[in-house]
């Protein structure tokens, strides 16, 4: 089923990306092409296959639950676009 414009708008909204009108139409066509191309995967029988999440099969290592770093707000906030004291700032979200 071809992608329609409203689906692109919905996906862009989910991804929190603002799209210009012309951009949305171009992306609709490109994504449509890519999704048509990956359709070839439907010809593979995977009924007996477990999904692979990564190339590493080792389990996660345990480590002691202790603080090893931190306590440097200035370093952490050094890249903040805007801050007040030791806080990041954003537009007001509650009235």
């Amino acid at each position: 089923m071809p992608l329609d414009r409203s689906t692109i708008r919905r996906i862009a909204r989910l991804a929190r990306i603002r799209l210009e009108e012309s951009e949305a139409e171009r992306l609709r066509q490109e994504l449509d092409g890519i999704l048509a191309w990956v359709e070839m995967l439907n010809s593979v029988d995977v009924s007996e296959v477990a999904p692979m999440t990564g190339a590493i099969t080792i389990g996660l290592k345990m480590r002691p639950d202790i603080v090893t770093d931190g306590g440097d707000a200035d370093l952490v906030l050094g890249n903040a676009p805007e801050r007040v004291g030791d806080f990041y700032t954003v537009p007001k979200v509650v009235e």
Binding site: R16, E30, V38, P81, P91, V93
Partner: protein, 496 residues
């Protein structure tokens, strides 16, 4: 003798004998960058002062006889490795103001061993691309020229195109890259250098800006197999800060160059013979197999039956992971911020302005394939086919010790070619993507020139953690190919 022509092995032997200083070697490379980088745009940032300070420290250590394995060796660092106090952008507008307060493990390991960082190299934004034209800071020019059409501006491949161009043009002795779908090997092939993607988990991803976490492989790029092996010795190793880093000893990879390949079984994956592959690439592949047979290896036909599903699988899995990883760029804690009416507006404006076209494309595909109602049909299905691709390799490696195949289906193309639709560009990675999906190591070695005089690479694919055998085979290929051609644009070349 031009100091910029030295490989890593010869340079460190000469530094050890104090034939020249680390400072002289660094200055020679900085001068080459100054002369050529305005044209090539291989480096996004040159850190000359820091490099000279590091060279001074290396000279002092060498004078005391305490220099590390890379003491005084000038390297280029792909601008996706976080370097403490040095701007790191991933070639994205969204990270334009970002100065990491920490160092990636791989670059920390290189510094520990005495390496000198000349600067940060260009890439496709967030490593998404095969041409280095998807950079927010302009494309990188391939230093090689077509014989018949020297005016054409060729791409260096990608995404590690800045690193590949810098090493090929002798602006650095070696470089770091990352390979998610071929981003070390394909640019190495396009620029006539060697690029090594180790086994997944061999080099830590800590501090490497994430694209697709289950596929991102940091690795070395240099002008010989031995040089890549030396760099890998320093870059590799267990890191508790990367949960997928594997705790196995790091062998002496450089020693593997001289192991010989007598009795090794080399597999030829028959599915890699694709329609429309240039005859000269077929020819080079046949020569490569003959060289390995001459050195005592035996050649065997093998099948990797799910090869053709590699690319579409990759273009579901990688964007899915990318859409999740790149959610962190929201304009709040670091990077670009575009003000908005409310918080959602701030996110949307920031991400709309901060990401380039290819990154948006992949985030949207990833969001789509992970969204309610589509997850099973796309993402889960792709993860299952990924398991089949790994099984192909496991089965093949029960029969053979290593595989030999072309690295890319073509030589370097010109900027503007292959841009008509995204899928055409994605097809560049047809031979490189499977090894990333399976996590097995692979190395590209320059093995010949096409009719235009452009370099072509062959890749050796090894067993998981079979880097030593893979390196032994690659070193034999290198000896037999005796690739001595040079790019038109390089330090000290008459063309500049």
């Amino acid at each position: 003798m031009n100091l910029t022509d030295l490989g890593l092995g010869p340079a460190r032997r000469a530094l050890g004998r104090r034939e020249f200083s680390a400072r002289e070697l660094t200055l020679a490379h900085l001068a080459a960058i100054e002369a050529l980088n305005p044209r090539l745009n291989a480096f996004l940032l040159v850190t000359a002062e820091e490099a000279l300070a590091a060279a001074e420290a290396a000279d002092a250590a060498l004078a005391r006889g305490e220099g590390g394995p890379l003491a005084g060796i000038p390297l280029a660092i792909k601008d996706i490795f976080c370097t403490k106090g040095v701007r790191t952008t991933a070639a994205s507008r969204i990270l334009e103001p970002f100065v990491p307060p920490y160092e990636s493990t791989v670059t920390a390991n290189l510094r520990r061993d005495g390496a000198i960082f000349l600067g940060k190299t260009n890439l496709d934004e967030f490593a998404m691309g095969s041409s280095t034209t998807n950079s927010a800071y302009g494309s990188t020019e391939n230093p090689w020229k077509r014989r018949q059409d020297p005016a054409a501006r060729l791409v260096p491949g990608g995404s590690s195109g800045g690193s590949a161009a810098a090493v090929a043009a002798r602006l650095a002795i070696g470089a770091t890259g990352t390979d998610t779908g071929g981003s070390i090997r394909q640019p190495a092939s396009f620029c006539g250098i060697t690029g090594l993607k180790p086994t997944y988990g061999r080099c830590s991803r800590y501090g490497v800006i994430a694209f697709a976490s289950s596929l991102d492989h940091p690795g070395p790029m240099a002008r010989s197999v031995e040089d890549c092996a030396i760099l890998l010795c320093s870059m590799a190793g267990h890191d508790s800060r990367d949960s997928t880093s594997v705790d196995v000893p790091v062998p002496d990879y450089a020693a593997a160059c001289n192991k010989g390949i007598r009795g090794l079984r080399i597999g030829v994956p028959r599915e890699y013979r694709v329609d429309g592959m240039p005859a000269e690439i077929e020819e080079m592949w046949r020569s490569g197999l003959a060289w390995l047979e001459d050195a005592g290896a035996t050649v065997h036909d093998v099948s990797l039956p799910h090869t053709k599903y590699g690319l579409p699988t990759y273009y579901i899995v990688a964007p899915a992971e990318a859409s999740s990883n790149l959610a962190r760029y929201d304009g709040v804690r670091y990077g670009l911020r575009v003000p908005g009416e409310d918080l959602i507006d701030l996110y949307e404006e920031t991400r709309g302005a901060g990401f380039g076209a290819e990154v948006k494309r992949r985030i949207l595909i990833g969001t789509y394939v992970l969204s309610a109602g589509y997850y099973d049909a796309y993402y889960l299905k792709a993860q299952k086919i990924r398991a089949l691709i790994l099984r192909d390799f496991t089965d093949a490696f029960a029969e053979v010790d290593a595989l030999l195949a072309p690295t890319a289906p073509s030589a370097a193309f010109a900027e503007g070619e292959k841009t008509e639709d995204p899928v055409t560009m994605y097809l560049n990675d047809v031979f490189t993507v499977p090894a990333d999906l399976a996590g097995v190591p692979a190395i590209s070695v320059p093995a010949g020139l096409d009719a235009d005089g452009l370099p072509l690479g062959l890749q050796v694919i090894g067993r998981p953690f079979g880097e030593e055998t893979m390196i032994a085979v690659a070193a034999q290929l290198e000896r037999a190919a005796s690739f001595t051609a040079l790019p038109a644009l390089r330090a000290g070349s008459p063309a500049i």
